[in-house]
Symmetry: C2
Amino acid sequence: MISERIKNLRAQMALSEVDAWIITGTDPHQSEYVAPRWRTREFISGFSGSAGTVVITKDEALLWVDSRYFIQGAQQIEGTEYKLMKLDTDGTPDPWKWLAENMQKGTKVGVDGTTISIDAFEKNSALLKKKGVSLVSTPDLLSFWNDRPEVPCTKIYKMKDEYAGFTTSAKINFVRIKLRQSEADWTFIASIDDIAWLTNLRANDIPCNPVFVAYVFISLEKAVLFVDKRRFDDSLFLEISKDYEIRPYESVYDDIASLTRRGVGFYSPEKISYAFAPAINKKRNLRGCDITTNLKARKNPVELEGMRRAHFLDGVAFANFMASLDPLGSYTELEIADMLESERKKMEGYLGPSFDPISAFRENGALCHYSPSKEHEKKVTGQGLLVLDTGSQFAFGMTDLTRTLLFGTDATEEQKRDYTLVLKGHLALARQIFPKGTRGVQLDVLARQFLWCAGESFMHGTGHGVGCHLNVHEGPARISTALIDVPLETGMVLSDEPGVYKAGRHGVRIENILAVQSYTETEFGEFYNFEVLSMVPYEKKLIDVRYLTDVEIGQIDAYHQWIKDQLIDYVFEETKPWLEEATAPLKRN
Amino acid sequence: MISERIKNLRAQMALSEVDAWIITGTDPHQSEYVAPRWRTREFISGFSGSAGTVVITKDEALLWVDSRYFIQGAQQIEGTEYKLMKLDTDGTPDPWKWLAENMQKGTKVGVDGTTISIDAFEKNSALLKKKGVSLVSTPDLLSFWNDRPEVPCTKIYKMKDEYAGFTTSAKINFVRIKLRQSEADWTFIASIDDIAWLTNLRANDIPCNPVFVAYVFISLEKAVLFVDKRRFDDSLFLEISKDYEIRPYESVYDDIASLTRRGVGFYSPEKISYAFAPAINKKRNLRGCDITTNLKARKNPVELEGMRRAHFLDGVAFANFMASLDPLGSYTELEIADMLESERKKMEGYLGPSFDPISAFRENGALCHYSPSKEHEKKVTGQGLLVLDTGSQFAFGMTDLTRTLLFGTDATEEQKRDYTLVLKGHLALARQIFPKGTRGVQLDVLARQFLWCAGESFMHGTGHGVGCHLNVHEGPARISTALIDVPLETGMVLSDEPGVYKAGRHGVRIENILAVQSYTETEFGEFYNFEVLSMVPYEKKLIDVRYLTDVEIGQIDAYHQWIKDQLIDYVFEETKPWLEEATAPLKRN
């Protein structure tokens, strides 16, 4: 089947006169997670992971994946002509470098212009050009995909204004203020979580991501929303039509040139696909991070209240789940995720998971992004660590939480040491006070320092932005080793999730959600710190207090005491003994 | 006098048809410290600090300085028409932004093309262009400076090959290997500490910086050194002529076009002045950090041996100095610096200070870069902190060291707390183990974390690269909040110097020199750590052990024990009791 598809694609490539075609696997909105319609990477290669790149040439088929997917990638392409390319392993060039090195001078590399950002197209085009290879934007060449899913068209609903904090009309105004400050006349937005935030609308186009495909154009006079109007019920359509001129989703490609013809535009070259470049990529226009991305990142007090409420309810559910779990019992990974989900479903406002749950026992925990499925899952029984990374969508907020749990009786020395080193870093980041202007990359080491001193490390970021009843990964700020020049600002909500992964043995990850808040002002300026939103006790059986300082013990005890005070009146009667025990002060040596 | 000079400059500006002229204060090599010939900023403004920018327009004269020089700048321009512009204070634009905002459309801003890098010229030219203002390269307009010092021409001497580790011939080869790897045919180098390193030559063109003004052109076949040949004695000229074709320093401007006409060039747009742009700034040429800057930064084993030896001898001298100092005595700031200098002079291979000594008592210590002078210095007597930041040039290495000393009997609680918080950060950075690939910006917070948690901070970098019998500040790596994408590599030598500065009260700074070394390799990859080179005890009377963890106390005690073991047999007999006492284990509470 895969070889048939490759053959068909090669025929299309020949018709389009390109010598190689690159499948980025994203959608026309440069989304991280995509609707089934745009699972092109999976269609052409069989690989179902969330990140990867496919390159098809006349006689080669290659799949690039990062370390999360080395094993899964290899399994899923077995028996096909695909060659697995392991990103960031010694000597493996990335797809673009590979093309630059392997394509003959004078050849053409094609890419569907809707699936690559202007920024990525320009950069990689320049790279290929040096070797005499040209990068061209082609239409989608997958016309032979017969049963291809439709463009998503799930029902659009409103996020209540009292959860959003501001009406969409107020938000349009915020955007216009920023436009004026930048001396720009209009902006064009393709990022669909930005559009959901801006419009206070939600839908279910992408599993776990409550978004809908759309584009927005805002000028000082006009606000146009490109979206399929069948997706609204009549009253919502009437309401949203007050703030936006609604035009068909597909008409954006025809309309954009005339809308953007005049004035100075502002757009994100990382979010607008290259298919819009002919209309948008003009010298007079300004480039930058989308105005809405920056506005969305700093949660307003109402959104923060919703986030706190979500974490409180999630804390109740998690405590009830933990109390019902027998660490000496026998489960499967999915059963455990389902038990937690069933407790969450009892909470008011709960809408579903915010991403596919990770429930990974023993050596599965060493695969950072392992998700169990009915076909591939592990028995959870006997001694071992379970990495449980899950999250909840609420009508007013969202959670993302990882706890590593001990099954069986005693943990090994290595398990306790790994858990405690990860916890020390997690705590150090959470308690750090820092001046206004500090970027995530400056704080990242706080979560890594103890692991590094033990010759250990983790390869993922320490923290990502989190949406409010929106996507679980949000920009522009991050806490990671990437040199991103975005200061942490009050209202930003980020994860704190160091881990350690020992292939074939176990994984540990501990994740809380933090909100940046103002802390103090001194003769040295303004200082911020983190408010911890998550309300779930750490796994005390995995803490080795010999590695902890008094400050760290105090921090854990205070956190646990706070959780108990918050939750004790709201958990099931049967949960109380567990909560009391789980939040009791640590026994010191 | 200053007003006369401004008048003369304005006359020159009129002749050159520029409406504003900007004086960057650097030399044709973009040096941080410059020879008297290029102290143009001081000549035109009277301001003698090491950093600042002057802008002269038809009716305004402005001096920009950073926070180090707010006070000194204001004093030195008093009574002139200069307006002081405080960099990085709210609402103050930098000089280029000021020009963009204040110059009329259609006007011309001039700059001596030899005193601005290609990179800075291009960036600022684009900035001004947006406002319709053009930036033009002019000749030097200070022709009316009658008693202007000559181009420096101090005697050039050789750094012994057995101190340099490699002959210049070997180093030329290293450069050619890198040229080939970059697929380039030639490089042109203007950075004079790079040229000193490359040629194994030194001189005294700039106080404390053992460099000489020169340019180097290296192709796969040719090596040309542009330098005044009168500066060599005959035998050295003969020797260096074996490796380089020597051409007159001034002829570089005539010769560069023909030398660089063919092939692909590699140059640093941050180090090559805009005056060379017509010859060098071609599309086919590659840009990057100078090859020699990267080679120089990673000290070879012989250079590291020299650095260790320099720090050992400096440790002996510092101990003898400390033993002779009476904390209850009465001195001046300069007397103390002189006492230290006289002990250093007794050491074999000592050549002089590596920068102007900072000896700053009480509130002077709060001025980060205060240097005492005969006219302005303070009595050191009674209770107070002295910040002593000094360094030594040795024939085989260099040191840079800061200790904060207590005068009088007991320290105040605030003094001890500030000292201990700075020390905790200094120690945390020094003991951190980190994976290969880590950049300085990722480690910087380790030195700041404890201060930040107390609402305190310092505004300078944590660490700079240090030369081997060369300049005290060296690129390309730094440990600072700047997002510089240069990983720390084995052999790099950097300072670790957090501080805290309380205006009107006191300053604290503690500085050691660290060398990056290989530490271990684990399943998580290669890890590095720091070797501490400095051998001077901390001021125990200022350490409040209540703020220290066991790890920190152990680190201090081990460091002191090591110093004692290294130095005890080599200090004066009279110094031994002081050394014993200063290196004895901390008393725990």
